[in-house]
Structures are given as C-alpha cells and as structure tokens.
C-alpha cells in the first residue's frame, strides 16, 4: 500500500516537473477535493428491533483529492469504514485508498489509467458508478481510451477489473461508438431533425472451474441505440442482448438475456410529457457469476418509477428486477398560467405520474439437463403478476411571495412477496397524502411544515400498516437550521409495537462546510436510490454528518 502511495505521489511530482503540457493561467496546476463522514452512536432498543452494537459507534468516511494541470489530471480517494455502519455491506470493513487514477488528453485522445467510472448508452450493458448512500461502487481498475477521431464520432474502449470492497475481481473488456449525424455531415448541421446512433460491445471473462457444468468463460453482450430529436419532440431507444450466462442470479440456466428501453418526450412552454417503457429478461450481468447482491455488476437497469423523497411516499419503493420485468411510466407536467382561474396570481404547477411494473409472460421448459434453457418468454405479452404500481398527482402553488405549498396524493401497490421476498403477505395497497407548506420569515429565515399520511389495510412483515408523519423545519439563517420529525406507526397488528419514530436534527452550514447532528429513532426499512436498494435496520442513537469541499 505504502509503496503504491509513494509511486503515486512521485508520479504526480515527476509530471509536475517534467511535463511540458500546454497551459493557460495555472502553471502549477490546481488541487481540489472533498470530504464526508457519517457517524452514528447506537443505543439498543428492543421495542423497535435495534440490535446492540458492540463497537457502540460506527462510521463511514471518504475524501477525494484531485490534481489538475492543463490536460493532466490525477486523483485519489481514501475511504474508511471503521467499522462499517449498520445497513451497509460489512465487506467494506477497513480503510485505505480505494480509488486512484491518472488521465491525460493529447489532441483528441484521452487516456485514463487506474480507476474510472463509465457508462455506455443508458447503461444496459455497461455502467460503472458510485452511490455513496447505498455503499455501491463498481468502478473499474484498468485502462480506458476515449477518442473523437472525426467531428461527430465518439469512441471509447476499456479493459479492467471491478472493485469489490477494498479488492478487485473479474475481467471486463468494452467498446462503445457513437455518431452524431448532424455533426458528421456538415450539410445536416442546421437540419431540424437531430439523429444520433450508437453501439456497444462488452465481454467478461471468468474461468470455468465448475466440476459439473460446462460454463461459458467469455460472456459477450452488445447494445444498439438511437436518439431522434425534432422541435419539441424526442425519442430514444436502446436494445441490448447478452449470450447465455449461467449465474447464481438466474439459477444457472443457459438462456440468453435481453433488454429493451424506449423513451419519448414532448414539451413546450408550460407543458411537458414523457413516456417510457422497458422490458428486461435475464439481464443480471456480473464480473463473477457466483455473486449475488449489489456487487460486481457490469450493467445497469434504470428503474421507471418516480423517485420520491417524502418519507411515506418512499416507504415502499420499487427495486429493479434483473431476472425479468416489464415496466412503463408516463409523466404529464402542466403549468396553469398566471392570472387564469386555476393559475391565480403566480400560476399553479401540476404533475401527474403513472408507473407500473409487471412480471414477464414466461413458459417453463422443464428441460432438466445440465444445459437447461430454463424458460421462454413472450415479447408480445405482459405477465400476470403486478410487482408495483404508483399513480400520483403533485400540485405546487405559490400564494404570496412568502407562502408556498406542495400537495401530493398517491395510490401505490407494492408486491411484498416479490420485492422483499416475503411470501404469504398481501400486496400493500396504500393511499398517501402529503402537505408541505413553507412560510418565509425575514431575511434568510423560513419555517416549513410537512404532514403525511399513509393509509392501508395490509400490514408488512414487521406488522406495520398505516402511518402518520409530521415534520417542522426552521431555517434560522443561511447558516443554521433545526428540524424535528415524527413518523408514527399507529396501526401495528401488535399494539405495543405502534411506535413513534421521532428524531431531531440541527445543522450548521457555511461555505461548502455542512455539519448535521441528529438524535432519534430510525425505523427498519428499505433505502433506495434509483431502483438499487439497501436494507436499513432499526436504530436508536446519535448521528453526525460532516461534509466539505474545496
């Protein structure tokens, strides 16, 4: 480790001294970075199911430092999980340099060595990204080339291993090309219609050391995409195909996988419409076929449901089903103009959203051989199982320069059997109402009230049914805020478990520094960012977050 650090530092120095890089105003280059720590002190709380934590205090932290000089960039990220906070993968336990890279651009070629993130198209065959809130990071460690050989032509090629905790595994090779016709053909540069075509190929290698099965050692996947824009209209489509890839996730079947994504939108002043549909079939694609969970994933499955931020709306979130799903979504945004009956003095914004996720229509093959294909699926049909549905309307209204309100109603259906693996529970059907009122006080000060209610006849695996929630947030100045929240599970089938999950926070913000201290109870639940979820266990204690950037 130490030797690697020295090598890195030496490398930046050598480059600093020897490089004759073209430069503008910063002959010495620039160094910037950021830092964040999340720490929690845990109390045992048997009522809400918060387990005792032997260490008492746990923390996750990281810091990025990036050096740039002209066309040269190098960076490192130090991460520490001492020890890993509850609800994050315990595999991260430890500390060290988890990410380091150097990158240089000459003319139209960009070379990156070390760690890098990348996405081809919408990510259906390849996406390396990080989501700190989930403890998700599947960055590559290897080499990447990016080239713009001719106007409108963009090429990327990469080879690398993938990050798993503080180690790396697998072997992935990838190529992506994109052509923008309006840039490529000078005659089309002023054309009303914009047209872009793209394609990718990805291959992973893993030796076959299975005593019984004959496994493909190289698994290839490809994707093709288009993007058409004309005036107020745009259409994006992508299709991806993966050869047979027996894995833990698909039960070691030899079926191919494929994915389709279509997105269309139309918009003009005061109006926005977007439609999306997606079909995913057997598309779990990992650097290690025997792995499960959110590690070593090569591709990405974008979830097509609204990303809610209010507590009750996000209580039963959808998580993408890589084994198979059919999803669609529609959004309609409209602004009633000022000085109209519904618009009032300041105008009224209305947002309608509908999303639905279903199983595929599959037929089991019962081909009980060593090389079984598993099942076939019908492209023309949607399966009969509903996984998730969400119909919601959001109204944003400003009454005066000092008073604003948001009103949301949602009806959600959540298949707890499929999405949480809890068979025997009925689908949770909930009606949710959220009211959020902000009143501006003088100068920077404001006060915000939030009231929420989730009504349902069904109960989840911990016995919870309906919830009521409230929040008061007082922004005292641009530097200080305090907030108090209560989430009350008032209809648990076990009356003594009808609990108030309250918490209070105080925050200090100055420049890019942010310090937030909290105390209270956190209910057990699923925390999701974009269809990727982690389970957060119940906890009771003090939390501290400090973040900064320079």
């Amino acid at each position: 480790m130490v030797r690697r650090k020295i090598a890195l530092i030496t490398a930046s120095f050598l480059l600093y001294h020897s490089s004759s890089a073209q430069n503008n105003t910063n002959p010495l280059g620039e160094i910037h970075g950021n830092f964040e720590i999340n720490a929690q002190y845990y109390n045992e709380d048997t009522l809400i199911g918060a387990p005792p934590v032997p260490e008492k205090m746990l923390s996750n932290a990281y810091s990025n430092v990036i050096y740039t000089r002209g066309a040269f960039t190098a960076g490192i990220r130090y991460e520490s999980y001492l020890n890993v906070m509850q609800g994050f993968d315990p595999g991260y336990k430890g500390a060290g340099i988890a990410y380091r890279f150097a990158s240089y651009t000459v003319e139209n070629l960009e070379i990156t060595v070390g760690n890098y993130y990348e996405q081809f198209g919408s990510g259906l065959v390849l996406r390396a990204y990080e989501e700190k809130g989930l403890g998700f990071d599947n960055c590559f460690d290897g080499v990447r080339l990016k080239m713009n050989p001719y106007r409108g032509v963009y090429l990327k090629a990469l080879v690398g291993q993938q990050r798993i905790y503080f180690s790396k595994a697998g072997l992935v090779r990838g190529f992506d090309g994109e052509i923008n016709f309006n840039e490529f053909f000078t005659g089309l540069s002023e054309a009303k219609t914009g047209f872009i075509l793209g394609g990718s190929f990805v291959s992973k290698f893993q030796t076959d050391d299975d005593p019984a099965l004959v496994l493909p050692q190289n698994v290839g996947a490809w994707a093709a995409r288009f993007n058409i824009t004309r005036g107020n209209f745009s259409l994006y489509g992508e299709y991806a195909y993966k050869i047979n890839d027996p894995s833990y996730d698909n039960g070691y079947i030899y079926k191919y996988g494929d994915a389709m994504l279509l997105q269309a939108n139309y918009s003009k002043k005061g109006l926005g419409i977007s439609l999306a549909a997606k079909r995913i079939d057997n598309m779990s694609y990992k650097s290690d076929r025997d792995m499960s969970g959110n590690v070593l994933t090569i591709n990405y499955n974008p979830v097509l449901t609204k990303q809610h931020t209010y507590t009750t709306l996000a209580m039963y979130p959808y998580n993408s089903q890589n084994v198979g799903e059919f999803c669609y979504q529609a959004d309609f945004l409209y602004k009633f103009r000022k000085e109209t009956p519904l618009g009032g003095k300041y105008g009224t914004d209305v947002a309608l959203n509908f999303s639905s996720a279903h199983s595929l229509d599959t037929t089991n093959l019962n081909d009980d051989t060593l090389a079984m294909k598993g099942y076939t699926s019908d492209y023309m049909k949607i399966g009969d199982k509903l996984y998730f549905q969400d119909v919601n309307i959001e109204i944003n209204k400003k009454f005066s320069p000092k008073l604003k309100m948001t009103l949301i109603y949602a009806y959600q259906v959540y298949n707890i059997d499929i999405l949480r693996g809890k068979p025997g529970y009925e689908d949770i059907q909930s009606h949710i109402i959220v009211v959020d009122v902000t009143r501006k006080l003088k100068d920077d000060a404001s006060i915000r009230f939030q009231a929420e209610h989730l009504a349902t006849q069904q109960h989840n695996e911990t016995g919870d049914a309906s919830f009521a929630a409230g929040l008061v947030e007082w922004t005292i100045s641009e530097h200080w805020f305090i907030a108090a929240q209560d989430v009350y599970s008032y209809a648990n089938i076990n009356p003594e478990k009808s609990v108030h999950y309250w918490n209070a926070t105080v925050g200090y913000l100055k420049g890019t520094n942010r310090i937030v201290l909290g105390y209270g109870k956190q209910r057990a639940g699923i925390f999701c960012v974009g269809g990727v979820c982690r389970y957060v266990p119940a906890s009771n204690g003090i939390t501290l977050t400090v973040s900064s950037s320079f």
């Binding site: 105003t25 160094i31 996405q119 923008n180 002043k269 979830v303 990303q307 942010r514 973040s547």
Partner: protein
Amino acid sequence: MKNMRIFAAGVLAFIALTAFVQTQARKLPSIDVKSTEGKTVSTSKFTNDGKPIVISFWATWCTPCKKELNEIAEVYSDWQKETGVKLIAISIDDSKTSVKVKPYVDSKAWEYEIYLDVNSDFKRAMNVVNVPHTFVLNGSGEIVWETNVYTEGGVEKLHEVIAKVAKGEKIEN
C-alpha cells in the same frame, strides 16, 4: 520504516505543493456532458463573453434544487439585463430520469443552458457531494464563489454575489 519516512516526506511535500497551488485561481475541468438533444459538449468550452457564469448542479428528484432554480427563473431576465450573467444548469439525473429533464425544463419555461451529466463525471470532477451545489465564475472563467445549500433567502444572496462579480469586485466565500 524507511518506506514510512519516504512516505511521510512525500505527504509533507504534497501538502506544501497544495498550499502553493491553491493560491492560483480555479477553473473548470474539461469533462464531456450532453445537451438535451444528445450532443456532446466539453465543460471547458463554457463561455459567456467575459460576463459571469453560474453553474448549478441539480436533479429532477431534488426538491430544494427545483425550488431554487424556479425562484431564479422568475428574476433571471432582470439579472441578465443587469449583469449579463448566464446560468448553466447541470442535471445529474441518470438514465432512469434523464428523459424527464427536458419536459421539466420546458414546462417551467427555464431560459437556462441545460446539460446532462448522466454518470456524474462532471459532478465528481467538481467534488460535488450533494445537490444543490452552485458555483459562480467570473468573466475570466475562474470559480470565485460556491455554496451547497438552498435557503429561502439564498437567491438574493446569489444575486448580490453575481452583481459584485459583474463589477469585478472581490468576493469572500
């Protein structure tokens, strides 16, 4: 032990270098982002003819970000007349919500320049931890002010900063 000493010396030298280079003005890195039409654009090409630029990181799922940008939208044309400022809104929506960016922007009739940073490459290069995060650049393209919080009075504060930058006055973050 010897390795440790070399390492410690390296770290010290690194810190010294950091302190030294930090006195230099900070500029935008060169990262590829996409327009809502899918066109690839390098962030190093962001210009505004010697006038200030505001770069605002946001997402369609970020309520405070939308509040802030909607509030600015009401006074944006006044700001432009007064200071010549250009606001560039960088959406960090990824492929699940990036399709919603243009309908949202148009329905709100925002006059900003909009770019998509679908895999957070620009966000990472700018060391942005969370959205909203707003940067103000002076006429020479140097970052002179930044904030990562939205408050009800924040828009007025941003206006003061832009007005000072447009006049060439010094800014304290």
